[in-house]
Amino acid sequence: MEGDLKIALIGNPNSGKSTLFNILTGLNQKVGNFPGVTIDKKTGFCKLPDNRISQIIDLPGTYSLYPKSRDEVIVMEALADKKSAIHPDLIIFVADASNLKRNLLLYTQIADLKIPVIIALNMMDLAKRSGIEISSDALALKLGVQVVPISARNNDGISCLKQAILNSSKIPLQVDSIEVESLAPELIRKIQKELQVDLPYVALQLAHQHEQLSFLNADENKRISEIENEFAFHSQKTQATETIARYNFINDVLFDTISFKADAKLETISNRIDKVLTHKIFGFILFAVILFLIFQSIFAWSEYPMGLIEQLFVWLADTGNSLLPEGVLRSLLIDGVLAGLSGVLIFIPQIAILFAFISILEDTGYMSRVTFMMDKIMRKVGLNGKSVVPLIGGLACAVPAIMSARNIENWKDRMITIMVTPLVACSARLPIYTLLISLVVPSKSIWGFINLQGVALMSLYVFSIISAVVVAWVMKYILKSRERGYFIMELPVYRMPRWNNILLTMYEKVKTFVFEAGKVIIAISIILWVLASYGPGERFDTIEKKFESDLYTQKYTPAELDRLIASAKLENSYAGVLGKSIEPAIKPLGFDWKIGIALITSFAAREVFVGTMATIYSVDADDKHLESVRQKMQSARNPDTGLPVFTTAVAFSLMIFYAFAMQCMSTVAVVYRETKHWKWPTIQFVYMTGLAYVASFIVYQTLK
């Protein structure tokens, strides 16, 4: 579906662009990729009052068309390249009314690209409360475009905005802001002529940005470089001149369209909150408390819904077993598909809760204060204050977190952030941790409110962050710097979170997890079922013949015999052979071949470990008793010694292994795409697996 009209949303970060996007499109949105780069492309559809359908594209927030990061290049590519699939017919420029002057800088740049544009003057309520009065009619008159006052948070003015879309013309009507040609007359004329560019401002932008724009071919790129040299074009000087000229124009425009009243209550409130939240002592205590609260809540709140999901699958398996005829199909459906599916769905509650917290922190403006407080420490270890966001995002999933590292302009800071983010305990480790903690740590409370299991989990999280920091510090000395880093960041005013926005985020993250990770998990569950149910050569026949002999039939009851056969079959299946072949290498870590199988399969994704355990043990154990994976692992005994397999030493060794090892194909893929080089994911994979092996070895040998 293309829609009748393509509309791009453009604006500064924190201008409320995403809120407006959510209001316009609702659940009618999808997340994809921009061609060539990996940032999320959010598109959606919106029905206009005349029943036409418009496609809405949410472009990344930026302060100017001169990109500070790869993310922001997309805006220029979409607007300057008429052949681009996301080249809009109309732009809705979302401006923060409480900070109009700075917002209009980007507007004037956009306006010079001569695409029809409407200004959505957002946060009018906020502006009023801070004592700012804006005459939107006067502004419209001066700029020659429609200006619609809205408040996206309160859902105000949206129907007017939709009406404005209907009223918009197909040709750009905005007035010119500055004399673009005068910035570099000969250069602009020559680029316009040689590359057949209609607009002077596009020609100028090509000169500034040609090296980064993907729609230019090598010849065009070379030609622009030559023209630049010919006229001794100085990109930064020209940018400075342009920016000052634009602000002069903006000052003229705003002179009689905006007025300020003295009392600004909102700022003061925000300032007062900041005095506490970024206080020398309280600030850090509060941050620690918030982190602690999040992890306690994940444990406490997710217990009930997870129990329900567990019960549902036990019931489904029970029903399946009684309804379906015994055979390959039943085995595939119940032991392969259903087992994998439950391994995916069981973690929805935890992911939803974690993302609810993360999006509340983002939404209220607290996240940028975290960055503000942490910058100095982070810089010491070779990271950037902005690295806090990917690292905290890494608590949920390394894949989006690594992608969010794009916001770090500095190459070295970004690379180090990408390299250490997978060390942070992500939600895919959560299933493994919860499962193993519940096996070996008693569910007891100390002082009545602190759950021991919660403490164990939190320690793992803290440990993961410490290891990320240590590795980052080491890398600071290994990596060579390429460019300088900035830390110029807006601290938005504190605001109440928007609950429907948070719900939408939770929905979107869960959906992504279920469909992206879920696909892999179920596919691997099925492959595993095959690996565990079939063996090389005649081995399975031999086993059956062996156990048919009188020696066994007289000694064991039929039930015991079944179990022996199943166990022997698994040991001789493809999976068993594979697991056994790596057993010598992993024995010093306390792992047996069953764990070996899980290690192999979870190379694809860590959470597969649990699915694998489910499959292995439901194939292995007595089929009549439908116990949960946890109970099966608890009752697992070493066939030689009769002792439990999952002792404290093994469980912790395993958790530490997963804490370090890069057991995630999606992360490997995303690091490759972000760094555009196989070198980085390879280094990452090797160093992480090496660390995992050494650390697990130490843990097992100490605790044994």
Binding site: Y63, S64, Y66, K68, S98, N99, K101, R102, L105, S130, I132, Q236, K237, Q239, A240, T243, I244, Y247, E267, S270, N271, D274, K275, T278, H279, K280, I281, G283, F284, S368, T371, F372, M373, D375, K376, I377, G385, R484, Y486, F487, I488, M489, E490, L491, P492, V493
Partner: protein
């Protein structure tokens, strides 16, 4: 006088920049010559700092602030 030398609560007016590359970014964020700046606070560890400029709060490192010369 450099911006980085101000104490919280003190203010000044931007005169010029000592670093061209930084100045482009700063101007995009509203730090223009002639604009007045109030230092709101320093981060708990002394760096970065939060300033109020053209009606909003901006945080920047002291090193970056030292490229802004005040009148």
């Amino acid at each position: 006088m450099k911006l980085s030398q101000l104490e919280p609560g003190q203010s000044g007016v931007i005169k010029e920049f000592t670093d061209l590359e930084m100045s482009v970014k700063l101007m995009e964020m509203g730090c223009l010559p002639g604009e007045s700046i109030v230092v709101e606070r320093y981060a708990p560890l002394g760096d970065p700092m939060a300033i109020r400029v053209s009606g909003y709060q901006l945080s920047l490192r002291k090193l970056e602030a030292s490229t802004i010369i005040l009148q």
